[in-house]
Amino acid sequence: MVIKVPLSWLQAYCDVPWPVDELVDRLVLTGLEVDGVEAVGSDFEGFVVGHVERVDRHPNADRLSLCTVDVGGEFLQVICGAPNVAAGQKVPVARVGAVLSGGLEIRKAKIRGVESFGMICSEAELNLSDDHEGIMVLEAGAVPGQPLKDILGGPETVLSIDVGTNRPDCLSLTGVAREITALSGGELRMPSGGVDEAGPPVDDLASVRVDAPDDCPRFVGRVITGVRIGPSPDWLKRRIEAAGIRSISNVVDVTNYVMLEMGQPLHAYDLDRLAGRGIVVRRAGEEEAFTTLDGVDRTLDGEVLMIADHETGIGVGGVMGGLNTEITHETDRVFLEGACFDAVRVRRGSKTLQLQTDASRRFERGMDPELQGEAVGRAAGLIAEVAGGVVAEGMIDVRTPAAPDPVIRLRVSRVNGLLGTDLDRDETAALLRRLRFDVRPDGVDLEVRVPSFRRDVLREVDLIEEVARLYGYDKIEPAASTPPRDDSAEAREREEALRGRQDDQRRLRDTMAGFGFTEVVTHSLLHPDLNQLIDPSRPSVMVDNPLSPELSAMRSSLAASVLSVVRWNANRKVRDIRIFEAGRVFWAKEEGLPDEPEHLCIAVTGQRHSPHWDGPPGAFDFYDLKGLAEALPARLGLDRVETVPYDNVDPLFDADRTGELLADGVRVGRFGAVAHRVLDRYEIREPVWMGVIDCGVLFGQASDRKAYRAPPKYPAVERDLAIVVPETVTHRDILKEIRACSGDLLEAVELFDVYRGAQIAADSKSMAYAMRFRSGERTLTDTEVTRLQDKVLRRLVSRYRAELRS
C-alpha cells in the first residue's frame, strides 16, 4: 500500500537531519520502499489573497465574469471564467508578473475588449492538485493582500512510500517518523490524545455493545456536541490533500487527518441519526441489504462484520460507513468511532463488497490494539478546535482484556548463526532499542518485549530481521558456501537422473537448432476452440478467471500456438519458416492435477533453403520432413528409427500424408502435412509440414552410451537390384523382404532410385536398391552373394509380383 508523506507535515513529529536524497536512500536501505519524490506547490511569488468585492457579467461574453478584487487596499479588475466565483469569497490571485505552475506568466491583458489585471487561480494552476474545475476558495479569515505563501505554505516535498504488508506500523506519518528516529537517534514527538472534556458524561449520550468480540477486540467511542459542519481550515485541507485525500468537511477531514497521522481509521456518525443512540457490533445477516457511503446498494452475508444501531446496519466494520448516518450540514452531535477490528474479518468484508478503502487496507494488515484511545481523543480535540463544540466527558471503551506484550528470547549466537555476522550482545540490544523494543540482557542472550505497534514481530527470527535491517545488509560480508556432498547411492542416482533429463532437453534443442530450425516459445493459454480443432477428443484444462476467452484454456498441444506463430510471421512476409517449440502441454485427468507431458513441435513452410543465384531451391516436401523427423531421434541415440503409415485419424494432419515415427518399435510421434481444415482456420494459405514428438518417450528411449564398432576385417560385396513393382508396394515392404532373406550378412541397403514413366507399366514403379553384404568371419564368395540376391528376388516376385528390371 502506497502512502504519501508530505515532508513538512512529517517534520512535526521528528527532525529530518538529511537532505531529501539522503533521506530516501536511508529509508530504502532499512526497508521502506520510496516509490517517488514529488514537489507540490511553490513559493507563490506574486500571488496574494484577494477579496471578491463584486462580480459583474462581462459586457461581451456570457461565460466570463468581470470581478473587482481587493488585494489589500488596491482594487484590481480581473476577468474570470470559472462558474463558481462569487462576491464575498477570499481567493488566490496571481498578480501581473506572477508565473503559474504550467510556466505561464500573467500579463495585463485585454479579453474581449475589457482589460484584466491578474488571474483568480484554481488548485491546478497553483500546482496543489489536479483540480481545475473551478477557482480555489480560501478560508474566510484570510486577509486581502496577504502573501499566499503565508496561507498555503511554501513548496512541499511529498514522498510516496510503498509499505509492505508486513509493516502496518509504517502506514502513518508518525510510523514513518518513528522509523526515521530509529535511524537518526532523534526524538519522536507523538501527538497527544489528551482532550478538554467539557460536556456531559459520554455514557449519558451513547452506548456501545460488542456482540462479536473476536471480530472486534476493542471499540472506543467519544461524543462531541454542538459542532458546526463546514469547510476545513486551509492548513488541514492542505495537509490531507498533499497526502492524497480530498477534503470533504471539517469533521470528516479530521478523521482522515488522524488516520494519516496515527494510522488508526476513524469514523464519525451523526449521533442523532443512530436509533437508540447506541451501537451494536455484530455479524451481518444473510442477504442483509445495506447502502454504503459511496451510495452503492449492497447485499451482505454472515462473513461481514456489521456496525449497527439498535435497528439497522450503519457501517461495514473496518471498510466503509453507511449513507444513513453520515455527517451532514445539519449534524449537531458527532459520535466518533475508533475500533480495532480483526484483520481476517475486515478482509472478508472487503472481499465480499469488492471494496478496498484506506481503512480496510490498514485493518487487513493488523492494527495496534493500544492506539484507539489516543487516536479518538486526538480527533475529538481537533474536531472541537476546527468545528466548535464540546467533547463529552470520558470515552466508551469496550474491549476484551488486552494480551500482555509478547516477550521473546533472542539468542545472540542465533543472530550471528543466521546472518553470518559477528555482533555482540550489547550491539544487538542497542539496535533493537533504537527501534523502541524493550530489551533486557539475560546472560549471553537478550529478553525482548515487543511494543503493541509491532505486532508483526512474533518470533526470534522476526527480531533477527529487525537487527539485520537496522545493522545494514550492506555491512554483511559476502561468504561463499561450499556445496555439500551427499555420498549416498540414492543421492547419486537422483542427481544422475536429473542431469540426464537436463542434458536431453539441451541436446534436443541443440540438435534442432543445428538442423537449421529457430526455436519459438509461446503462451500456454489459448482459446479452447483451438484445442478442440486439433485434439477434439480431449477436454481442455480451463481457467476459472481468464483475462479473456482467448486465454481461457491450457494448451493440449503445441500445434495450435506454433501455427499461430506461422501465421503471424507469414502475415509479415516471412515465407520460409522452419521453427520448433519444446514445451509442456496440459492434459486433464479425472481428478487432481493435469498431466504435463513435454512435447516437441516442428513446423516448416516454404522453400528448402533461401534463394540462391545458382537456381531455385524447390519447395519443402514430405521427404524433407521425414528425413528430419528420423534424424532427430537418431541423433539422440535411438536405434531402429522408422516411419510407418498412420492408420487412425489425427485431425491435425492430412490423412493421406501422415507418418508415424517409431524408434525401436515404440511410437515416438507423428508428422505430416497439416490438414486443410486446420490451415483454413488459421487463414494460412501455404502448405505447412509439421511433426509432433513426445519428448518423454523420446528421452526414455534415448541413450547417450553409444558403443563404437570395430572397423570391418573382411571385404564387402556390393550388388544392385532394380525391380519393377506395383504402386501399392511400399519401400518398407521391399526392405522387409530384403532384410528377411539376407539375414546377418546384409550390412546395408539403400534405395537409390525411384522411377516412373517410359518403359514402365502405368500402375508400376521401378525401385533400385544398392545392397552391401559382409561377414564378420570370412570373405564372402561371389556365388554365396548371388544366391542371397536370387533369394531376395524370388521372394519379391512371389510376394509382390516384382519383375527384375533389365
Partner: protein, 336 residues
C-alpha cells in the same frame, strides 16, 4: 598397358580441370572415351594380353574410365553452374549456399547459462508442475488464504484448490517433502500472474528459484553465492546489494539488486539513473516453511532466492521489451 591407362587418366583429368565450358568437356569425352578414344583403344587391346594379366589390366582400365567419367560430370556441373570464368578461375566472392542457421530462443539460452553456473556451484536442477495445488503455491509457503500477500500475487484459479503457479517456489516444498537436508537445488520454470499485459507486464513469466538448506547456512553465504552468480553471468565487476523486503516464506527477506550491467553503476536509461538493477527477492527460509516439511529449524537453516529469467535475458542480450519473448517475430529470433 596398366601404365598407359594411368597416363591417359592423368592427362584426361588435367584437361578436364582446364576445360572452360561443356563443349570443351564433350570434346575431351570423345577424345578419350569415344569409339576411337584413347582409353577405348586400350580397353580393346586387353584381349591381347596374357590371360593371367587380363583381370588386373581390365580392372585398372575400367577404373580409369570411371574416374574420368566422374570428373567430367563434376566439371560439367560446375561449368553449368556458372561459378567459373572461361579461364577457369573461381569467383570466390559469389555468395555460397548457406545451410539454414537455426537458433535457440533467448529464454532457452539464458536458462541454459543460468543452470550451467548453478550446476558448477553444486546445485541440482529440478522441476515441478505449472498447474499446482493452492497448498504448495501458497499455504505451505506460509501464505494462508486470508493473507494480504495474496493480493500482490494475482492468481489464475482452476477450481478452488488449484492454481497456475505464481512462482516456482512451490517446488521448494515438493523437494523438501521428498528429501532430507542437505538440499541444494534450482528450479527454472514458467509462472503465471493474473495481470493484463501492458508495456512492462505480461501474464507469463519465466523464473528460476534457488534453495539451499543445510546446517549452518547463513545470509552472508546467500550474498556471497549471489555475487559469484552475478559475476559469472555479467562479469567480474558486478556488485550485489541487499535491501530489506518482505516475503511470507523467508525471514529475513531481501530484494537483491545487481549493479547496472549497462553503465557499470554510474546511472543510465536502463537502470533509471540509479546505477542498480532490481533482480528479485531472496532471504533465509522462514521456520514456518520448515514446519510444513518437518525440518527442524533449530538444526537446519537455509536460503532461498528467485530471479526472473526474462529480465536477466533482457539485460544479457540487450532486449528492451518483455513482449519480444513470446511474440516470436522470426526476423528478430533468427539472430541479432
Amino acid at each position: 598397358m596398366v601404365q598407359e591407362a594411368e597416363a591417359i587418366e592423368a592427362r584426361a583429368l588435367e584437361e578436364i580441370a582446364r576445360a572452360a565450358d561443356p563443349s570443351d568437356l564433350e570434346e575431351i569425352r570423345i577424345r578419350y572415351m569415344g569409339k576411337n578414344g584413347d582409353l577405348t583403344r586400350v580397353l580393346r587391346s586387353v584381349g591381347k594380353a596374357a590371360p593371367e594379366d587380363r583381370p588386373r589390366i581390365g580392372q585398372r582400365v575400367n577404373q580409369a574410365k570411371k574416374t574420368i567419367g566422374e570428373a567430367l560430370e563434376v566439371r560439367r556441373a560446375a561449368c553449368e553452374a556458372g561459378g567459373e570464368s572461361a579461364a577457369g578461375a573461381l569467383d570466390v566472392t559469389l555468395p555460397g549456399r548457406p545451410p539454414p542457421l537455426g537458433s535457440k530462443h533467448p529464454l532457452t539460452m539464458i536458462r541454459e547459462e543460468v543452470t550451467e553456473i548453478f550446476r558448477d556451484m553444486g546445485f541440482s536442477v529440478v522441476d515441478g508442475p505449472e498447474v499446482e495445488w493452492d497448498y504448495y503455491n501458497f499455504e505451505a509457503l506460509n501464505i494462508p488464504r486470508d493473507h494480504p500477500a495474496r493480493d500482490t500475487q494475482d492468481t489464475f484459479y482452476l477450481g478452488s484448490d488449484i492454481v497456475l503457479r505464481t512462482h516456482t517456489s512451490p517446488v521448494q516444498v515438493r523437494v523438501m517433502e521428498q528429501q532430507k537436508p542437505p538440499v541444494r537445488v534450482i528450479v527454472p520454470g514458467r509462472t503465471y500472474r493474473h495481470e493484463n499485459p501492458d508495456a512492462t507486464h505480461a501474464f507469463t513469466f519465466h523464473q528460476c528459484e534457488g534453495l539451499y538448506v543445510d546446517k549452518g547456512v547463513t545470509m552472508a553465504q546467500l550474498k556471497g553465492d549471489m555475487t559469484y552468480f552475478a559475476q559469472r553471468l555479467f562479469g567480474g565487476k558486478v556488485k550485489v546489494r541487499f535491501l530489506p523486503d518482505f516475503f511470507p516464506f523467508t525471514e529475513p527477506s531481501v530484494q537483491y539488486d545487481f549493479s547496472c550491467v549497462a553503465c557499470g553503476g554510474v546511472g543510465c536509461r536502463i537502470c533509471k539513473q540509479t546505477g542498480w538493477l532490481e533482480i528479485s527477492g531472496a532471504g533465509m527460509v522462514d521456520p514456518a516453511v520448515f514446519g510444513f516439511v518437518d525440518y527442524d529449524p533449530e538444526v537446519y537453516t537455509g536460503y532461498a532466492f528467485g530471479m526472473g529469467l526474462d529480465r536477466l535475458a533482457m539485460f544479457k542480450y540487450g532486449i528492451d521489451s518483455i513482449h519480444m519473448f513470446l511474440e516470436n517475430d522470426l526476423r528478430q529470433l533468427e539472430g541479432p
